[in-house]
């Protein structure tokens, strides 16, 4: 199947720019980026007024398989991803049981193949049962397709085990994803310490806990030479440590969730549990610092940190409620807030949402280059809408953007040149 995308506003994260051009997808790959005319017999899609960008590579998606299929299945997650312009889901291992053996990994990979229309690459746990006591079979898990190793939001508190895991992973060239947080300081906390948490009477953690966690992990990276990615950096205080590590030439990268870039602690308001995240939402100063860090390229990855929770686990007092928000389908429109506010260009956004995560994980996607997989999202960056959470494809509807005015709608999504979302005559 050949598709001719005519007169599109191409968002090219590699070149760091955008331009009006025609793109040809053929045989699952991008055949030409600046085509002059449609090949004979090609399906022509008039993209006038629309943007065409590489499909989003969402690093850190939680799917409820195994263990919590009532919250999210591969089918529902895949539909949400397709509708949100996400063409590759990098799934998290914090399932029940954890994805900590090649057998469980093969199970989820097989489940995903039959159920989701988008690509899926799994992360595996770093330690067995994410318990922080023994390392997983990193080699076998890599052979089975694990693209990175992470204990999710649990910190490996045993520094010696963390050092050995990083050292072992370094020998295999595996990427380790850490959750920078000092576990002692953050124990029991559900908010960031500050005026808001004080007035609401919520147990809070100092933003310093994140920097302490990052400092420890960076020291271990220096010791072991491992490849390391911090799943979420959410405070301005942690950025100088990241900058120093980078300047020293360590193989350290970092991500941030779209929620921490577009919301702050005040959004919690009167204990709205859909805004309870881990790490908690931060101050406006932190949000602004993180947006600047993304613009600068210091924080390279933006993801949804998609975390489905059912209604019951959110209908609790704030302290007792589950943390996390769904984001596969709202990542793109939420990111458009940063574009419309003038903080980030579309090319910058797509560096962080597609090119950088793909590169970090060794995937061929995330680019608009001849020969690259034709994973594409066609979207209208301006189309306004009010989000109704019950229209989301996810089984869980726990989005902080319910009722929010958003701009930016996906018109069509293509994976390997095949359309997985949008009208046939798009």
């Amino acid at each position: 199947m050949t598709i001719y995308f005519e007169n599109a506003r191409l968002i090219d994260p590699e070149a760091g720019d955008e331009r009006r051009a025609n793109l040809i997808s053929d045989g699952g790959r991008i055949a030409a980026v600046d085509a002059a005319s449609a090949p004979r017999g090609a399906r022509v899609i008039d993209c006038t007024g629309l943007c065409l960008a590489p499909g989003i590579v969402d690093m850190g998606v939680q799917v409820g398989e195994p263990g919590a299929r009532h919250k999210e299945s591969f089918r529902s997650a895949g539909l949400a991803a397709a509708a949100g312009g996400v063409t590759t889901m990098i799934t998290r291992p914090d399932t029940d049981p954890a994805i900590d053996t090649p057998e469980v990994l093969e199970f989820v990979t097989r489940r995903a193949q039959g159920e989701t229309p988008v690509r899926m690459h799994p992360m595996a746990a770093l330690t067995r049962a994410r318990a922080g006591a023994e390392m997983c079979e990193i080699g076998f898990l890599m052979d089975a397709g694990a693209v990175a190793f992470s204990d999710g939001d649990r910190v490996v508190t045993d520094t010696r085990l963390m050092a050995r895991s990083l050292s072992y992973a370094a020998g295999l060239g595996a990427l380790v994803i850490g959750h920078p947080q000092d576990p002692g300081l953050s124990r029991g906390a559900v908010a960031s310490s500050g005026k808001f948490a004080t007035l609401r009477g919520l147990p809070a953690v100092s933003p310093m806990a994140e920097r302490m966690g990052l400092d420890r992990d960076i020291a271990l990276v220096e010791m072991t030479g491992a490849r390391y990615h911090a799943d979420q950096i959410t405070t301005g205080r942690a950025l100088p440590a990241l900058r120093r590590a980078r300047a020293n030439g360590f193989d350290v990268s970092a991500g941030v969730s779209i929620h921490h870039l577009t919301l702050n602690e005040l959004d919690v308001g009167d204990y709205r549990t859909f805004f309870k995240l881990a790490p908690p939402l931060r101050s406006e100063e932190d949000r602004v610092a993180l947006v600047a860090a993304v613009a600068e390229g210091l924080v390279e990855v933006i993801g949804s940190m998609h975390t489905p929770q059912d209604e019951e686990s959110k209908r609790l007092p704030f302290e007792a409620a589950a943390a996390g928000a769904v984001g596969l389908q709202t990542l793109l429109p939420a990111a458009m807030r940063l574009y419309h506010s003038g903080d980030l260009s579309l090319a910058q956004l797509w560096r962080a949402m597609a090119l950088n995560p793909a590169r970090r994980l060794g995937l061929a996607t995330g680019r608009l280059a001849e020969g690259a997989p034709a994973d594409l999202v066609l979207f209208d960056p301006d189309a306004p809408f009010v989000l109704d959470r019950f229209t989301l494809e996810s089984k869980s509807k726990n989005t902080p953007f319910d009722g929010a005015r958003l701009q930016g709608r996906v018109r069509a999504t293509f994976v390997g040149g095949a359309q997985v979302f949008g009208p046939e005559d798009a």
């Binding site: 310490s193 500050g194 005026k195 808001f196 948490a197 004080t198 007035l199 609401r200 009477g201 919520l202 809070a204 100092s206 009167d270 204990y271 019951e312 209908r315 609790l316 007092p317 704030f318 302290e319 007792a320 409620a321």
Partner: protein
């Protein structure tokens, strides 16, 4: 009347005029409660349910008595709050009780915000009797009434709030209320028991009792939970009493006519000297208990009036 709320969940959303209106009405109930016939009928036919998910003696008794003196049918329920199921219990119980058509729900819960959550699920009036570390509005109102009667005014006073501020809902409600009424507030306590952002609350913060009490008109002591004295927050009881316990020596730095308050129950010899607590020339601790009943009568009556008005409007609209 300037008190229009459906619920009394906290001081944060009250206006100064609403606070004054409530205190004025409470003042009348102080006299009423001292009289011989302590029975009125302004809540007659109304059902009041007290739900305490956290143990309480004085607050529960105070609410119960307040309701009974105004003629309400009062039921008190001691809720078992097991840590895993309390959330489900909370909403489920709220819905169940709501179906029985109560008029006033008095709720205490160990989680901040839990009473707000419950209030969203019911159609009656909800009074917060303390939620986690968040608010305890009737305590702040009874403290305000006590101060107003002892000092003749509720503005331009220097009030020192001393002790475990970090874990105290009483402190937060008092900071809101005394701030709204334009008083000077000092928070005194060890840094480990001070909220991270205390200085951003429009108050002065110190860990020196003598400096904190200097020329204070009101000295408000807070209870220190025993489990916080084991070295986790302060090194020991005796060091805490030495540095932060209120005794005659420290009180000498306050204004000569300063009053001493405590929300109870007291730890004598830990946060306050026993003799001082009983000194009727300085301590207004017993007055606070008395004002508590009057303030709760006024609050429930105002909410009941608003509830009746809302129901009448709904019936005619």
């Amino acid at each position: 009347m300037t008190f229009h709320a459906q619920h009394l969940l906290g001081i944060e959303h009250l206006a100064p005029a609403g606070i004054t209106a409530l205190l004025d009405r409470a003042d009348r109930y102080v006299a009423f409660n001292r009289g011989g016939a302590k029975h009125a009928d302004s809540l007659a036919g109304m059902t009041q349910i007290n739900m305490f998910f956290e143990p309480s003696t004085r607050t529960q008794a105070s609410f119960e008595l307040a309701g009974k003196r105004l003629g309400a049918d009062v039921m008190s329920m001691a809720m078992q709050a097991s840590s895993l199921t309390k959330g489900e219990t909370l909403i489920d119980t709220a819905m169940t009780l709501n179906a029985m058509h109560p008029d006033l729900l008095v709720v205490r819960h160990p989680n901040s915000g839990a009473v707000d959550l419950l209030a969203q699920k019911v159609t009656c009036a909800v009074l917060n009797a303390g939620d986690g570390r968040h608010e305890h509005p009737t305590q702040a109102l009874l403290d305000a009434l006590t101060i107003r009667r002892a000092k003749g005014r509720l503005h331009r006073l220097t009030v020192a709030i001393c002790g475990d501020i970090a874990h105290s809902r009483v402190a937060r409600s008092n900071i809101w209320l005394l701030g709204k009424m334009e008083n000077r507030i000092r928070l005194v306590g060890p840094p480990t028991l001070m909220p991270a952002a205390a200085a951003e609350l429009g108050v002065e913060v110190t860990d020196d009792m003598r400096a904190g009490l200097a020329d204070a008109d009101v000295v408000m002591m807070l209870r220190l939970q025993r489990e916080r004295m084991d070295g986790g927050f302060v090194p020991s009881e005796r060091e805490y009493y030495h540095r932060f316990g209120l005794d005659a020596d420290k009180l000498a730095h306050a204004a000569p006519d300063a009053i001493v308050m405590h929300p109870g129950p007291m730890n004598r010899g830990i946060e306050i000297d026993g003799t001082l607590a009983d000194d009727i020339n300085r301590s207004v601790i017993q007055d606070q208990v008395e004002m508590g009943v009057a303030v709760r009568m006024a609050a429930m009556e105002l909410l009941a009036e608003n509830l009746r008005a809302a129901r009448a409007e709904a019936a005619h609209g």
